[in-house]
């Protein structure tokens, strides 16, 4: 039992329906053992105070960016707006639009490609092990945790040498950056799919084999269609980390190809930027990943747990 902590039970991974953490049913304790009213009030008080703490920056973002620029002031950061205006958004949107285009062009193919490769890896590592795969797997896992500083000099040299970095490249470094995100995403996507396929019954594979399907055929016809939930987890995870990446983007891209985080930092970073515009820009840049989180939180959470090797 003790060993079974820290985990969402294995069986839920393959299915989309149950949320990873399930509340226990009704309180089964006898009435005299249930918490008293004071206890309950304290509990909700704590919960609401914490919720206020976590939502505080959201309040500042939303309220400030919707104020009329003339009313925006750091010293009146907490005051409710007396005016309503979209001027702040209008001011930053043109400066961010190319960043948005670049990030979309980057994050979508990056998440699809590294998920597809991760799917193949996870499939083979769980079902068609090869000699030394027990050594290879931990080495791949360690790749999840490597600090990017420890590879960034060789990456920058290689990308410069092949002409994929910054200004020398027609895509302004985006193509090289795409490659980087696909490659450094492989360890986590491999883990996500490997955990998914471990639960797949071998009888299915056995029957595919008896039907004469080779590894590749089994992969394409059987594994990929069966891995839809894992694809959701992996694509969402990769999309979010590519969208939010800063270091590789800053190293690789020239001005016109800045992903949205670099554009955001350069637009809203300095103290000289109007406070209202900084907030509007930060809010806009956060919206896509936030929307994914709100709509598909379950899958997001599973990616999160996979990142701790816990899934």
């Amino acid at each position: 039992m003790v060993r079974a902590t820290a985990v969402v039970p294995r069986s839920t991974v393959g299915r989309a329906a149950p949320p990873p953490v399930v509340a226990p049913d009704a309180d089964q304790r006898p009435r005299w053992q249930r918490p008293g009213p004071v206890h309950t009030i304290l509990r909700y008080l704590a919960l609401w105070s914490l919720a206020a703490f976590f939502l505080m920056p959201v309040y500042v973002l939303v309220v400030t960016s919707l104020k009329n620029p003339a009313d925006v002031s750091v010293t009146r950061i907490w005051e409710l707006p007396t005016s309503f205006s979209l001027e702040n958004f209008g001011a930053v949107l043109p400066k961010l639009s190319s960043g948005f285009r670049n990030s979309v062009a980057l994050a979508i193919p990056a998440s699809l490609l590294s998920s597809l490769l991760g799917c193949a890896n996870g499939f083979v590592l769980s079902k068609f092990r090869f000699p030394l795969s027990n050594v290879v797997f931990p080495l791949i896992l360690f790749g999840i945790f490597v600090p990017y500083q420890a590879v960034i000099i060789p990456v920058s040299q290689t990308m410069t040498a092949v002409g994929l970095r910054g200004g020398s490249d027609p895509s302004g470094g985006l193509l090289g950056l795409l490659l980087i995100h696909v490659i450094y995403g492989l360890p986590i996507t491999t883990l996500i799919f490997r955990n998914h396929f471990v639960a797949l019954p071998n009888a299915l594979l056995e029957s595919a084999r008896l039907d004469g399907a080779g590894v590749l055929r089994t992969f394409v016809d059987l594994a990929v269609p069966l891995a839809k939930p894992a694809f959701a987890v992996s694509i969402i995870w990769q999309f979010t980390s590519t969208w939010n990446d800063f270091m590789f983007g800053a190293m690789m891209t020239s001005r016109d190809s800045w992903p949205v985080t670099i554009a955001l930092n350069n637009i809203a970073g300095g103290q000289s930027v109007p406070f209202g515009q900084a907030m509007a820009a930060a809010l806009l840049v956060s919206l896509p990943t936030l929307a994914i989180y709100i709509l598909l939180g379950r899958y997001f959470m599973r990616g999160l747990l996979a990142g701790t090797l816990q899934d």
Partner: protein
């Protein structure tokens, strides 16, 4: 600890089964594992080169005297490491990183655990609270830093703003702080606030999954034996949570060592919140000191490997059991 495995009969890889019992449906050239290996080989080569090859390359640079744009690989032995050891900025960075790690990790673990405790027994609106505590994970550190820079504004008097303003408004003026702009070695501790805001929900999710993994039957039987809720927590739930606590601790420490974007966007150039990961970036790409940058990166890698290596090993070992 993990449930990475499922029952043996169904999950045993095909390659370890005796294939001879069945008629081979197609002519197999070479051992049965060859096509599988071919399928993963592109990824293996990419990871081999871009992760391990590049780590090695970086270590090699740390033994060179490469400064400026054109690479130089003249062997200088450990001299970069010894000069880093005597480097005042690096020493300050390490001190900062230790302060940050202790405050941030302790804070995030305590807060995350507390939030999980509050939610564990099932409260009304649990999904809402869980969502609110965890949403910062979906937001980039750059956006987080931009908001918090204004919240941790250090203006005083008429210019009081951000959190200080909030404190003043509710009569808690004594809480006023210069935050990360303080002229003290504790300035970086203020960064634990945005970092904790971003990541304690993550810790909560880990603990909550752990607590829910303690079966109700176990708790129930303890209850029937007359244990109070406090005793159940202490003698049943707490020991069962040890592996999660261990995971959460190591994950947070490793995140803390790697923290970069948040500090970069919060207050670039403030040496009070400088860390090795920032120093590496600036000395390499702004200063052209590739030798020193690679050395810092290698030290950082060793730190992360010391924390994470045993963790990966431990997790896989538990899984095989």
């Amino acid at each position: 600890m993990t449930a990475l495995h499922s029952p043996r009969h169904s999950s045993e890889p095909l390659s370890t089964r005796a294939p001879r019992r069945q008629r081979k449906p197609r002519k197999q050239i070479g051992p049965i594992w060859v096509p599988g290996l071919l399928l993963v080989s592109p990824s293996l080569i990419l990871i081999g080169v871009f992760v391990y090859g590049f780590l090695g390359w970086n270590v090699r640079v740390s033994f060179s005297n490469w400064r400026g744009l054109s690479p130089s690989y003249d062997w200088v032995g450990l001299s970069n490491y010894t000069s880093l050891w005597h480097d005042e900025r690096f020493r300050g960075d390490v001190r900062n990183l230790i302060v940050f790690t202790v405050v941030f990790v302790a804070g995030a673990l305590l807060l995350g655990f507390f939030m999980a405790m509050l939610l564990d027994k099932g409260v009304r609106g649990e999904g809402f609270f869980r969502g609110v505590f965890l949403f910062p994970m979906a937001i980039s550190f750059i956006a987080t830093a931009i908001v918090w820079r204004w919240l941790m504004d250090n203006g005083s008097g008429e210019d009081t703003a951000g959190l200080n303003k909030l404190f003043a408004a509710v009569g808690l003026d004594f809480l006023r702080s210069d935050w990360h702009k303080s002229d003290s070695m504790w300035a970086i501790a203020a960064v634990a606030l945005p970092a904790g805001w971003a990541l304690s929900g993550y810790v909560m999710a880990l603990f909550l999954a752990g607590m829910r993994g303690v079966s109700e039957t176990l708790r129930e039987s303890a209850r029937l034996d007359g244990a109070s809720e406090t005793q159940i927590f202490w003698y049943v739930v707490r020991p069962a949570l040890r592996p999660v606590t261990f995971s959460a601790l190591l994950i947070m420490v490793h995140i803390s060592l790697k923290t970069f974007d948040l500090l970069y966007a919060l207050d670039q150039g403030n040496l009070r919140i400088d860390t090795p990961s920032l120093y590496m970036w600036f000395t390499t790409f702004d200063g052209g000191f590739y030798d020193r940058g690679a050395t810092i990166a290698t030290v950082l890698l060793l730190g992360v490997a010391l924390v994470v290596g045993p963790y990966v090993w431990f997790t896989l070992r538990t899984e095989r059991r």
